[in-house]
Amino acid sequence: MRFRAKIVDLACLNHFSRVINTIAKLAKTCTLRLTVSKLYFILSDKVANGGVSMWCELCQGNFFDEFQMEGVAAEHNEIYLELVPENLSRALKTAQSAKAVKIKLTNKHCPCLRVAVELPSLSSSSRIVTHDIPVGIIPRRLWNDFREPSVPDFDVSIYLPVLKTMKSIVERMKNLSNSIVIEANLSGEMNLKIETDLVSVTTHFKDLGNPAWASEDGCQSSAQDRDLESMAEARIDIKKLQQLLAGQQVNPTKAMCNIVSKRIVHFILLHEDVSLQYFIPALA
């Protein structure tokens, strides 16, 4: 099992750092899955996470100048690692002016991801900062726990409003209530509602647009037959929503959510070379 990668381009490095920062805000510990062409940051829905799950996919070619990976075995050419993304985020934080960043999987005393940052200096040789981030190797028998979640059979799919606006609204609502109701319909309308003993606040968004999902075998027919005005809603933990919105450092190219009434809300945020899916289950 080997892994080595190198980033030389500063723009790629900053982009990668931003992705890691976003992941770090969403999960304390997560799984990093490495394949020949992609990296995945995965959080599977355990009770400990409050039932949220996350799937983030990056094309390695868009970030790394060099990428070599040899998985556990020839027919299973992948590596699954458990790590604390905050560590990776910290390691990259002071690498903003780096000449190169190399990441390597090592096993000196224990498995680590060694991030070596080469920094410019006035002297003849560059400064090297190495960060050894401890990781856990996830054995093959557990890989099934980390499969890509399928798109749920949703009732409504709608594009999200401008994330910055949504974020500031949710942040203020967070002070008033622990849970928030997201409801939307197929006419591009979405409402964010909170209700407490003292006050109820609703923010209305319109003209958001609904993404068209290619119906594969009529399985989306439940959405198509739906009355355009009727709202699908789910009550979710407001902190989880706020975390998701606060973690976004760059505006996504596309941002949408799929609501399964009273069950789960599936958020999809797409950037050019990164896709992030986040599932927040509805509260009982």
Binding site: V84, N87, R90, A91, T94, H109, C110, S121, L122, S123, S124, S125, R127, I128, V129, T130, H131, D132, I133, P134
Partner: protein, 360 residues
């Protein structure tokens, strides 16, 4: 200085005004000596030649409160006068500002003993000198919350800085960051190959900020682990020393510590004249047991008092104040008289200089 202690010690001497601070666990000491030339007017003492120069200490917070806002000070204040009024027990700081406004602050002070750490840069085996900027850039890679850092002279002439991980914590849980600097980033390098020293980052960062602001190179003197590390800054009118206790290496052999040639203070009790290093090891082993073995007697530290006749009961009080537990393994105190090697197993009732009341 406020990063180190809660009290500011002022000592006017013939060679300048010395401002000092020490932290509660006596593991960090700093002194800033301003030469008379730094001041427009400098009168160290009363005009009676046989009267001792007054030394006093004030609360750091009160003193800092006078100089609270730096930008407004720069704009408004023309002159600052600092006066000691021993009879009124007041330290007077007068700010003469623009437009004829004079702000007078009367701070209460306490007379105190000389506060002086025992250290000697000449006897340090290794030293390094670098522009403050290089060290500031080095330290930025470590998180603000990091307590201890290890400086080492590594192979290939590289100087390394690494975060110190407690042995008790699982080594596979903590991220380790290491920075390697080439020797030519430093202005002077005179280190013992393979040497290393571990000290607390917080007070060091404080000094670095000052060094960077004043654009002075910083010199680091260190010796074996356990012996203090000394940071100095110098220019024509200012001499700064920061002395930090360092982590001793439990596995290393106990070398008989060298006498630093400073005045010996008769220790308050027999235990006291003991080898600090073996005492430190005693502390570390007792830390692994559950709970302290017997109540440690109230810690004192030997102050270097060249005029023992001066000391009055009040000053003994000061030394007897128990220190708050220092960072986990820093029990080393470097204020010391001559250290003599001790017998093999240290007694658990040995006087604790800075007890860790929580146990580890």
């Amino acid at each position: 200085l406020s990063r180190i202690g809660d009290e500011l010690y002022l000592e006017p001497t013939e060679s300048g005004l010395s401002l000092r601070a020490v932290n509660s666990s006596r593991s960090a000491f700093a002194s800033f000596l301003f030469a008379p030339l730094f001041f427009q007017l400098y009168e160290p003492g009363s005009h009676q030649p046989d009267r001792e120069l007054v030394r006093c200490k004030v609360l750091m917070k009160s003193f800092l409160g006078v100089f609270r806002s730096l930008p407004s000070l720069e704009k408004m204040v023309g002159k600052c006068l600092i006066l000691l009024k021993p009879r009124a027990n007041r330290l007077v700081v007068q700010l003469h500002c623009k437009y004829g406004v004079t702000k007078t602050h009367n701070l209460a002070f306490q007379e105190c003993e000389l506060l002086q750490a025992v250290f000697d840069t000449q006897h340090c085996a290794s030293s390094l000198r670098a522009p403050a900027r290089v060290l500031v850039e080095a330290v930025v890679h470590f998180p603000q919350t990091l307590a201890e850092v290890t400086l080492g002279a590594g192979p290939g002439g590289k100087i390394s800085l690494r975060n110190y991980v407690e042995d008790e914590a699982a080594p596979s849980k903590t991220m380790v960051t290491e920075l390697r600097l080439a020797e030519d980033e430093f202005q002077t390098v005179a280190v013992t190959p393979g040497s290393h020293i571990t000290f607390c980052l917080k007070e060091f960062r404080g000094l670095l900020t000052f060094a960077e602001a004043s654009n002075l190179p910083l010199t680091i003197h260190y010796d074996a682990p356990g012996r203090p590390v000394i940071f100095t800054l110098e220019d024509t009118v200012l001499e700064v020393h920061l002395v930090l206790a360092t982590l001793s290496d439990p596995e290393s052999d106990l070398q008989p510590p060298t006498a630093n040639g400073v005045s010996h203070l008769p220790a308050p009790s027999d235990d006291f004249a003991d080898d600090l290093e073996s005492y430190m090891i005693a502390m570390e082993t007792s830390a692994y047991e559950d709970g302290p073995s017997g109540v440690p007697p109230s810690p004192t530290f030997p102050l270097c008092t060249p005029h023992p006749a001066e000391s009055d009961p009040e000053e003994k009080e000061e030394g007897a104040v128990p220190g708050t537990p220092p960072h986990k393994k820093f029990r080393s105190l470097f204020f010391g008289s001559v250290l003599t090697p001790r017998g093999p197993s240290p007694a658990p009732t040995q006087e604790v200089l800075a007890e860790d009341s929580d146990g580890e």
